[in-house]
């Protein structure tokens, strides 16, 4: 057996179909044994690529919105992603939550003008879905300031939770923009702010405990 014959037989050889002649050739030929070793190494290392990366939070957020819109998720909306604590609303959070409700109400009451309608329609034009809540970055800064003295791993966890919460808010806002009459999207937006509020409350409560 020569090297070309061995290489032609390699696909089946690697699947386990081996002859004594092929085996003898591998043992006596350094070039073919080197090739075989390399191919086995490549194949074994490939398995390490199986679960290498993780998709961004955007994927789940968009998927969840779609599932709710299609009615595949049917239970009342809750997002117990953090510890299940029952918080009273901090005054600061009544503003963005109220803003979200105003936006939702405004969108629901919006009546577009009909064709040929000469009367100015007494409509409530929906304000931009980017609501007049306190700037997200300012709230984020407050949260990160509250946890600044914690261990680095906790600080990183809060930062990660904030990023996910902000991504959730952005996705929910887009869902409301695209489907202003959809109840699930509206509820999702309120839920998204609730999640952010829970992070704030957790950060502040634990800061108070530490004093």
């Amino acid at each position: 057996m020569n090297c070309l014959q061995f290489e032609n037989a390699l696909p089946d050889y690697l699947e386990g179909a081996r002859t004594a002649e092929q085996q003898a050739h591998v043992e006596s030929c350094s070039v073919c044994s080197s090739l075989l070793a390399d191919l086995n190494l490549i194949s074994s290392q490939a398995f390490s690529l199986r679960e290498l990366e993780e998709p961004s939070p955007r994927v789940w957020n968009s998927l969840e919105i779609q599932l709710r819109q299609e009615g595949l998720i049917r239970q009342p909306l809750r997002r117990p992603t953090l510890h299940s604590l029952i918080f009273g609303w901090r005054m600061a959070w009544l503003v963005p939550a109220a803003a979200a409700l105003v936006i939702v109400a405004g969108i629901k009451l919006y009546q577009p003008a009909g064709v040929g309608d000469n009367q100015p329609v007494a409509k409530q034009v929906a304000p931009p879905v980017t609501p007049a809540q306190p700037a997200t970055s300012a709230e984020d800064r407050d949260i990160m300031k509250s946890v600044a003295s914690r261990p680095p791993a906790q600080v990183a966890a809060y930062r990660n939770d904030l990023e996910q919460a902000n991504a959730f808010i952005r996705d929910a806002q887009e869902a409301v923009r695209n489907n202003p009459n959809d109840v699930f999207s509206q509820q999702m937006l309120i839920n998204a702010y609730e999640q952010k509020q829970m992070i704030f409350r957790l950060a502040v409560d634990q800061s108070d405990d530490g004093q």
Partner: protein
Amino acid sequence: MTDAKRPHSSKLSEAEAIERAKQGDAEAFEFLYNLHKRRVYSLCLRMTGNVASAEDLTQEAFLQLFRKIGTFRGESAFSTWLHRMAVNVVLMQLRKKGLPVVPIEETTEGEEEGTVRKEPGAPDERLAGSIDRLQIQRAVDELPPGYRTIFVLHDVQGYEHNEIAELVGCSIGNSKSQLHKARIKLRELLRINRTEKAGRR
């Protein structure tokens, strides 16, 4: 095809999550998503080479699966069902874009020389022990799309040749020969990369 090892949750098992998802439970859907997202996403990313496409296809694969979860009866592993769905979603996308899913079986012209050149006294340039995960990841990303599909399905994801043949629409023999060519090509790429790296030092 073997299933990937799955983490055990003290709160929910996969079987419980599937039953609850059938009832519309949001937490159950999220549990199933988190359980399988890495493998599905890695599959999509390896086969498309593009992060945005991979995320869109991941979302689409889960969406198609969750739409049908009411019909899942447990005859096969849930993960098998999901990954098969993901592969089909990716292959459909590749076909839509006109990208080759699998190379056409080539004639033997030019292949008669083979890869192995017998050079008496030539140094033995094994890769063995000298490649890491990042190197092989980069080399896979450089493979032509058809070779990459077969390699990812077989060596990365663990599909058997008969399954690959059914998925991509080729013969079992074609699947085996293309896999072999993909590995040979990877070997070349890894050697080139290693030589380039050595030259920069």
